[in-house]
């Protein structure tokens, strides 16, 4: 059953020889060279063998440490960026708009009159009639408040 396949014409022509050869006396010298290599590997100190065996694991550990460090410092950088960031005027104005969303001018003025505070913040010393007048003007743009900070 082993040779139940008909070998086709072209394959038959190619024959069963391969084109490879070996250097002179290769097989005569092979066992000796192999023995030298085995002796050399046996002479390698135990510590060096251990390092060779542990090398892939050390590499993996170093890679994981590097990834953790990069992630940690990246995270720290993002957090500290957020903490130190200065708000620009437009952003501040948006925040004021958002905080005062439910306020109209009358409510603001009455709050100031009743409590002497604006949004829980005690006004600066010298809070005066001019400021009250200013706040009571129709169509006030709260972003202007920033200008008077």
């Amino acid at each position: 059953m082993d040779n139940n396949f008909q070998i086709p014409e072209n394959l038959k022509k190619a024959g069963k020889e391969h084109p490879f050869r070996v250097p002179e006396n290769y097989f005569e010298n092979f066992a000796g060279r192999l023995q030298d290599r085995i002796n050399k590997e046996q002479k390698v100190p135990a510590a060096a063998r251990l390092i060779t065996m542990a090398r892939p694991y050390l590499g993996m550990a170093a890679m994981i440490t590097a990834i953790l460090l990069i992630t940690w410092f990246g995270y720290r950088q993002v957090i500290s960026d957020k903490q130190n960031r200065q708000l620009n005027n437009t952003e501040l104005s948006d925040i004021v708009d958002y905080c005062l969303h439910d306020y109209d001018e009358d409510l603001l003025i009455s709050t100031v009159i009743e409590t002497g505070e604006v949004n829980g913040i005690v006004p600066l010393e010298g809070f005066s009639e001019e400021i009250m007048d200013f706040l009571s003007v129709d169509g006030i743009d709260y972003s202007l408040l920033i200008e008077y900070k």
Partner: protein, 182 residues
Amino acid sequence: MEEYTDKELVRLFREDSNPGYAFNLIVRKYQEKLYWHIRKLIISHDDTDDVLQVVFIKAFQSLSGFREDSSLYTWLYRIATNEALTFLKRNKIRKYLSFGAISTYLERTLEADAYSDGDEIKIKLQRAIINLPEKQRIVFNMKYFDEMKYEEMADILQTSVGALKASYHHAIKKIERFLKGD
């Protein structure tokens, strides 16, 4: 030199006070067969030499634990096949070769190897073999060149005789098509 059977060689290796002697006999008995088996898979002589040394070193290190479930010959062939395939895989990763590009790499090796010659038809046959899928390549080499029995091949490659016959049949068809076309 006295010719020992595989079982005798293994026993000699285990019992003898100088296992190096017994191992030397094993190397001398199988070096050529294993060399050609590996060479046909990885083409380059220098690489084959290196892989063959690794095969025997691994055999030397594990022979005392060899359970003799299979013959020494089958066991060595299995190590040689695995080492040759591992070498090709490692090379594929190292050289960033894409799927299928390993055949291009082997074809280049065939052209450049200092220890390859022969007439055009033999080189063409090698090119056809190189372009086969890995399993068909191994099966074709073992069956066509080494004239190995399917049962032995099944033992070495740990597969069924039916699967081997199918692989060999496909391989022959592909090679014939390759040889026919220019």
